[in-house]
């Protein structure tokens, strides 16, 4: 089982009742696996904030909930996350943050362990698929015991690696909850209520800190040698690979970490080395406690680690190293598929020379040669609103380009903002009917749900009409008719008014899949 499949299995064994999220590599396969288990409600929500809100509502009403997203999704959901720590959740609420060190398919490589610390909630981090399953189950128990959301952090190498998993049958939670029970002082976070809840949150976290000292998943592995390692997640496997006999303190709970246990461990070794990817999250805390430790002295703050990096950095003798060649082979970056409907529009945008405020999806590949027709891409939904900023700053030659799923995720608020504030931009929606980049998940423009049920399909023309865009400035054209696409872009741009152009062309991979 992959780490993602194991998380879904763990949620099933924990009798989860709801799974929601927004697709994002490397988290997507969790819900795609969860949907196949019986009696669990699953959905692709329109974005991560919505998914988490649904999870909190369900948990407060007594249903264990699993909410999944990639690391940057937590940025979107953070508003809810921080306050849900105050209110508590009643039934278990587990939020998966799938981090992507080395940016295999992401716009940044932020270290989401900081979120657990900032939001004051516990975070677990498995090191293989079996742990992914078991930690998911434990996360639900912890969440209910301390009335707090729990984060489960994976990284790409955990989410997308497979290893053996022993299955168990679903076990009913120890506590069975009734539906929603009114408690305004706990659930209505006006300042007079939120203050006491913050105090209560500090109490809950300090209890969890005490528990961390004795938790089985914070495991001391005795060994030979004077160098001891503190590590977690995939880095644990790398350390074991290179130093199978060294003493190791393996942290399963990565926030809060056990001060006394680490201090005790440090007394047993001459040198304590912290092995962690990205930021010195453990190392800074350990040093702040006055415990001598090294970590980032040996390893970078960027990218992934690997067994070889640990071997080389720590001077373990290296048998004859990798072979190398000076032969230059061309890179093979991903590119828009042959015949992809997005190709037409980027050819045209390249020819017309507009500044293209872009967004996230397969179509971001339009930034690369031979198209070279996208000039900015930072986050989900930013295309429409960044173009507004450009317009205000005096740039007239801008168009915004966004995909259908991204439009539903956070483009619609930008459209409303443009209308409200009198902007005159051209918004181009590339509608291929699916969330293609992450592997073809349905969305509110697909007319289908995660479980394959038919669903409402957003009507662009009515939506545009509702924010006051007149009919003649809303067009839908076929992606495979380049002349129509070009004409529509030129005419709508020439109108000098807020306008919406939907370029329709179904994703070829989806078409092929549906034929089968």
């Amino acid at each position: 089982m992959s780490g993602n499949e194991a998380i879904a299995r763990g949620a099933y064994e924990a009798c989860v009742r709801l799974g929601a999220g927004y697709p994002g590599t490397p988290s997507t396969e969790i819900l795609e696996a969860l949907v196949s288990y019986p009696d669990i409600y699953t959905e692709w929500s329109v974005n991560e904030k919505v998914a988490l809100e649904i999870g909190v509502g369900a948990a407060l009403s007594g249903a264990r909930s699993l909410i999944t997203m990639k690391h940057v999704g937590i940025n979107v959901a953070a508003d809810m996350l921080f306050t849900a720590a105050y209110t508590g959740v009643k039934a278990g609420l587990v939020v998966v943050s799938a981090d992507d060190p080395a940016l295999h398919s992401s716009q940044d490589e932020q270290d989401n362990r900081h979120y657990a610390r900032a939001a004051k909630i516990p975070m677990l981090e498995p090191s293989d698929s079996m742990e992914a399953k078991e930690f998911t189950k434990f996360a639900f128990e912890l969440s209910e015991k301390f009335d707090i959301p729990v984060m489960l952090r994976t990284t790409t190498r955990i989410a997308h690696s497979s290893s053996a998993v022993t299955l168990a049958e679903p076990a009913k939670p120890a506590i069975s909850f009734k539906g929603f029970e009114r408690n305004r002082r706990k659930y209505v976070m006006i300042p007079i209520h939120a203050g006491p809840r913050h105090i209560d949150l500090e109490r809950r976290m300090s209890e969890i800190s005490k528990l961390a000292e004795t938790l089985e998943i914070n495991r001391f592995e005795s060994g030979k040698g004077q160098v001891g390692f503190v590590t977690a997640g995939i880095c644990y496997q790398y350390v074991k690979e290179i130093f199978p006999d060294a003493p190791i303190l393996k942290l399963g709970l990565v926030h809060p970490i056990p001060q006394n246990l680490i201090r005790e461990f440090s007394r047993h070794v001459e040198q304590l080395i912290v092995v962690e990817e990205l930021d010195p999250f453990f190392e800074d805390q350990i040093k702040a406690w006055g415990i001598k430790a090294d970590g980032k002295k040996f390893f970078p703050n960027t990218g992934e680690l690997s067994p070889g990096m640990i071997r080389d950095a720590l001077g373990k003798e290296n048998p004859p190293g990798p072979i190398s060649s000076s032969f230059k082979i061309p890179p093979r970056p991903p590119s828009l598929c042959p015949g992809c409907p997005h190709r037409t529009v980027f050819n045209i945008l390249n020819k017309l020379g507009y500044i293209v405020s872009g967004d996230i999806g397969c179509y971001t590949l339009g930034a690369l040669p031979p198209f070279s027709a996208m000039d900015t891409q930072l986050n989900m939904g930013g295309s429409i609103t960044m173009a507004q900023g450009m317009e205000i700053a005096g740039e007239r030659n801008v168009v915004a380009v966004i995909g259908d799923s991204t439009f539903a995720h956070s483009g619609i608020t930008g459209l409303l903002n443009a209308a409200y504030n009198g902007r005159n931009e051209l918004i181009i929606v590339l509608d291929n009917g699916t969330t293609a980049m992450t592997g073809l998940q349905p969305n509110p423009l697909s007319g289908e749900r995660l479980n394959g049920e038919p669903a409402v399909k957003l009507d662009y023309h009515k939506l545009a009409g509702a924010v006051g865009i007149p009919d003649e400035l809303v067009r839908t054209v076929n992606a495979y008719k380049p002349d129509d696409v070009e004409k529509a872009i030129i005419e709508l741009k020439a109108s000098g008014k807020l306008s919406l152009l939907v370029i329709e062309g179904p994703c070829l991979i989806l078409k092929r899949k549906k034929k089968k």
Partner: protein, 192 residues
């Protein structure tokens, strides 16, 4: 003492690397090994390079092969064999299928790759994709056929492979995949 088998499967999106690696991992599991497998998906559908690490033995820690430690590199595309040398050492054997696929925006396949591979690898088996496709029932079974070639280098029982193919290949294709696998076992590549 060497206890872990390290196989790196590489190619291009669409060549069936992921299915082949699933089959290999399942066969290793069936043969009684602890197994870990690592790949990255997300962008591979769009024609990028694809890799999968498969590691097996009594107890496997890292799902990623340590640099320089691959025992076997299996390339379903010729140029891709050169892209992953960081995982290869002097012990690494190469099985390379001489399929040549140009990356997007490159119109001429670089020359001299076969010679460079011969220079780099002490042991190398070159497979002609045209004759293999003829033997194994077509282009789309090449991935399973190559597993037959790989199987000749491993001591997994035949039943371990057969079960994996029956369990994991798409519905209705198990028999054809099994034939392709057997064709791979008997195909004649060129040893160097």
């Amino acid at each position: 003492m060497k206890t872990t088998g390290n196989i790196l499967l590489v190619g291009v999106g669409g060549q069936g690397i992921i299915l082949a690696s699933n089959l290999l991992a399942q066969a290793a599991l069936n043969a009684g090994h602890d197994v870990k497998k690592n790949e990255i998906h997300g962008m591979s559908q769009r024609g990028g390079s694809v890799f999968s690490h498969i590691r097996f033995g009594p107890k496997v820690f890292s799902p990623v092969i340590p640099e320089g430690k691959a025992d076997l590199l299996v390339a379903l595309e010729e140029m891709e064999a050169l892209r992953w040398l960081q995982y290869c050492g002097s012990q690494t054997e190469l099985i390379v299928c001489q399929t040549r696929l140009n990356p997007a925006n490159i119109n001429e396949y670089p020359g001299g790759i076969a010679d460079e591979l011969t220079r780099l690898f002490n042991k190398m088996l070159t497979i002609d994709p045209v004759s293999l496709a003829r033997e194994c029932g077509g282009q789309k079974f090449i991935n399973t056929a190559i597993l037959g070639v790989v199987a000749n280098t491993l001591d997994f029982p035949e039943s371990a492979w057969r079960n994996a193919i029956e369990k994991l290949t798409p519905e209705g294709t198990a028999a054809k995949n099994w034939e392709a696998f057997l064709a791979g076992r008997t195909t004649k590549g060129t040893y160097e």
